[in-house]
């Protein structure tokens, strides 16, 4: 639709539309933030650009699908299992591929992660074929309506769980012993090691945690959209956009970045063209590089 083509009726409803887009963005932003936090934690602690992040997200969605649809496992139990399996998968990737590359430069680990990404994605494609699957959810189908605004119960649930997980991650990073080790490693890995922090364990735990969050995001969004093997690519590119936006390594940045991206996408697809919805992330990346190359929240010394 061309910019000048809005007719009178559409103009009249544009405020409601704007509010509806805003609401959609807030709901979506929660899951985006979840994705971004996982990625930014892994980068901040391990200096690894985790290209498998999107595949772990897809993995979460597929576990959800496999448990709920053919096996008939309870929806909420499946969600917990998907996240748990995501954590295990993350730990396995770290132990198998990264633990031996701890002193390697960032380009080396990136190549390994790209290799793992390509292998994982095509294994998914081989195992599940390219056909899209949908996952049944136990929520009432009719949306919650409030004035001119409406939101589905499922999305509301997704937002609630995502917020809970984000809050949990903040608690973990800022208030627990593990979080203390995490922050110490983030500030200065060598000093942290000298102070008795087991860097190898911190690495494995971080990667497992980040992957768990990605799998949770996948398991949450799988029932909202559909499940396809290439869903990981899109998720990964969005997670990268979020993390660049917020500044690599910043948890707060990733949270805010998730919501900014969701708003940009909602407004972009609503007012420019739905074909460019997925381009908004990249456009934001390029804009942020022009204005502030290190991201909005580049806090070198702090993790949160």
């Amino acid at each position: 639709m061309r910019p000048g083509a809005l007719d009178r009726d559409q103009r009249r409803f544009s405020l409601d539309q704007l509010l509806q887009h805003g609401l959609n963005a807030i709901i979506l932003g929660g899951t985006y933030a979840l994705l971004g936090i996982g990625l930014t934690l892994i980068f901040g602690i391990m200096k690894v650009v985790n290209f498998t992040h999107g595949e772990v997200y897809a993995f979460g969605a597929y576990v959800m699908f496999a448990l709920v649809m053919p096996l008939g496992v309870n929806f909420f139990v499946a969600l917990v299992l998907a996240m748990a399996l995501g954590i295990l998968l993350g730990a396995a990737i770290e132990l198998l591929l990264l633990s031996r590359l701890r002193d390697a430069d960032i380009d080396t680990t990136m190549l390994v992660m790209i290799g793992a990404w390509i292998a994982m994605q095509n294994t998914e494609q081989l195992a599940w074929t390219g056909v899209a699957h949908s996952i049944k959810n136990p929520f009432p189908p009719e949306p919650l309506v409030w004035g001119a605004l409406s939101v589905s119960w499922n999305r509301l649930f997704v937002f609630a769980v995502a917020s809970l997980l984000i809050a949990g991650t903040y608690y973990l990073v800022n208030w627990t012993k593990f979080g203390k080790a995490l922050r110490a490693t983030f500030q200065d890995r060598d000093t942290a090691a000298l102070m008795g922090v087991r860097i190898d364990r911190v690495n494995t735990a971080t990667f497992a945690l980040g992957s768990g969050l990605a799998a949770a995001a996948g398991a949450l969004l799988g029932p909202v959209f559909v499940v396809v093997p290439t869903m990981g690519d899109l998720a990964a590119s969005k997670a990268f956009a979020i993390v660049i936006l917020g500044g690599l390594g910043s948890v707060v940045g990733a949270t805010v970045g998730g919501f900014i991206l969701a708003f940009a996408e909602e407004l972009g697809s609503g007012y420019i063209s739905s074909g460019y919805r997925d381009a908004m992330g990249f456009v934001l990346i390029i804009l942020i590089l022009l204005v502030r190359p290190t991201g909005l929240f580049a806090l070198k010394e702090r993790i949160s």
């Binding site: 790209i114 390509i118 292998a119 390029i286 590089l289």
Partner: protein, 345 residues
């Protein structure tokens, strides 16, 4: 003796169309050659400047699209109310246009992306290729979107009476070989000069390079422009060979294919991308011969990438050089000069 080996090798390659009649094998050689050209250009960035540029397929695709569009002619709105109409141009001109378009994009993205390094740069380079893919997919008026650009003409040179048509495979093969040799020569000149030393210097130690007056960003941009122009040439060759171009040309997997060629062969060596390119140009064919689905090929690429990083981190060519004691550095003519200078003093 070893000095003439490369020339003999090129002569041998040039003779292939004279005795090879199997069109399928020629097809494989052509596509492998096109990928090798692209991989050589990527090596300039990846190997010599040390920047992990993961958007390289964008330049390949821009070269292909620009060349195809110029040869077909097009009508599109560049901005609202600004209609640009281009009549079909001769293919040689279109190909040069493709190369120029890729180079211009290389300049722009180089200026933008090299404000950052490391992980940021990598993500920016990937994003750039994705944006270009989405534009190719959605700007239907210009690119036909997923319907693809069809009936792209093949290259014809010369005037009526004495006309060379690059429609048949032996001719396309010769053209690809010529472009590959030219690209190789250009890249070799570059890396064995002041510019190449500046690129290697910034890869080895950026602050030290700056301290002796090397304008690091300028050389990164130069490397990007040359690399994208050559990748654009490869894309133009591709477009006028397969004669159909769709947005899938921008898929990340093709960048991965180029990266794996360079890394396996040996980044930062002149021969590396050629060795890696031959290997990974022929591997998919052998997998296909075993009736494997394409996913298996990509899985194999992914696993191989991990294995190469673990077991052959510097690639095949440096490993062979070490084994046989003939490193590229020692093979340079400078060695003789130094020996002569020592004898003088």
């Amino acid at each position: 003796m070893t000095r003439w080996l490369p020339h003999l090798f090129v002569l041998f390659l040039a003779s292939v169309p004279l005795w090879m009649t199997d069109n399928y094998i020629l097809h494989i050689l052509i596509t492998t050659g096109i990928f090798i050209i692209a991989a050589m250009s990527l090596n300039l960035l990846l190997g010599y400047t040390g920047q992990l540029s993961l958007g390289h397929v964008a330049f390949f695709g821009i070269g292909a699209y620009a060349s195809a569009l110029l040869s077909l002619g097009f009508e599109a709105h560049i901005a609202p109310g600004l209609l640009v109409k281009v009549l079909p141009k001769p293919v040689w001109f279109a190909m040069l246009g493709g190369i120029a378009s890729a180079a211009v994009c290389g300049y722009a993205i180089g200026k933008l992306a090299f404000r950052v390094r490391g992980a940021y740069f990598v993500i920016v380079s990937i994003s750039f290729a994705e944006v270009v893919r989405l534009v190719a997919l959605n700007w239907v008026e210009l690119t036909q979107g997923p319907m693809a650009l069809n009936n792209i003409p093949a290259l014809k040179l010369g005037a009526a009476g004495l006309e060379l048509s690059f429609l048949k495979k032996p001719m396309v093969y010769t053209l690809v070989l010529a472009v590959a040799v030219l690209s190789y020569v250009l890249i070799r000149r570059l890396v064995q000069s002041r510019a190449g030393r500046a690129m290697i210097a910034l890869r080895e130690n950026e602050s030290l390079a700056t301290s002796v007056g090397i304008d690091v960003t300028a050389y990164l941009v130069l490397a990007t422009v040359v690399a994208s122009a050559i990748a654009g040439a490869a894309g133009a060759l591709y477009a006028h060979y397969v004669r159909i171009v769709d947005p899938d040309i921008f898929l990340f997997i093709y960048t991965v294919t180029m990266v794996i060629m360079v890394v396996t062969g040996g980044k930062g060596t002149l021969a590396g991308p050629i060795v890696g390119g031959v290997l990974f140009g022929l591997l998919p064919e052998s997998l296909r011969a075993m009736a494997m689905p394409p996913e298996v090929q990509w899985i194999a690429y992914g696993v191989l990438m991990v294995l190469v990083v673990y077991f052959l981190p510097r690639g095949i060519v440096p490993a062979i050089n070490e084994r046989w004691g003939a490193g590229e550095a020692t093979a340079s003519p400078l060695r003789n000069l130094v020996v002569a200078a020592k004898a003088r003093s």
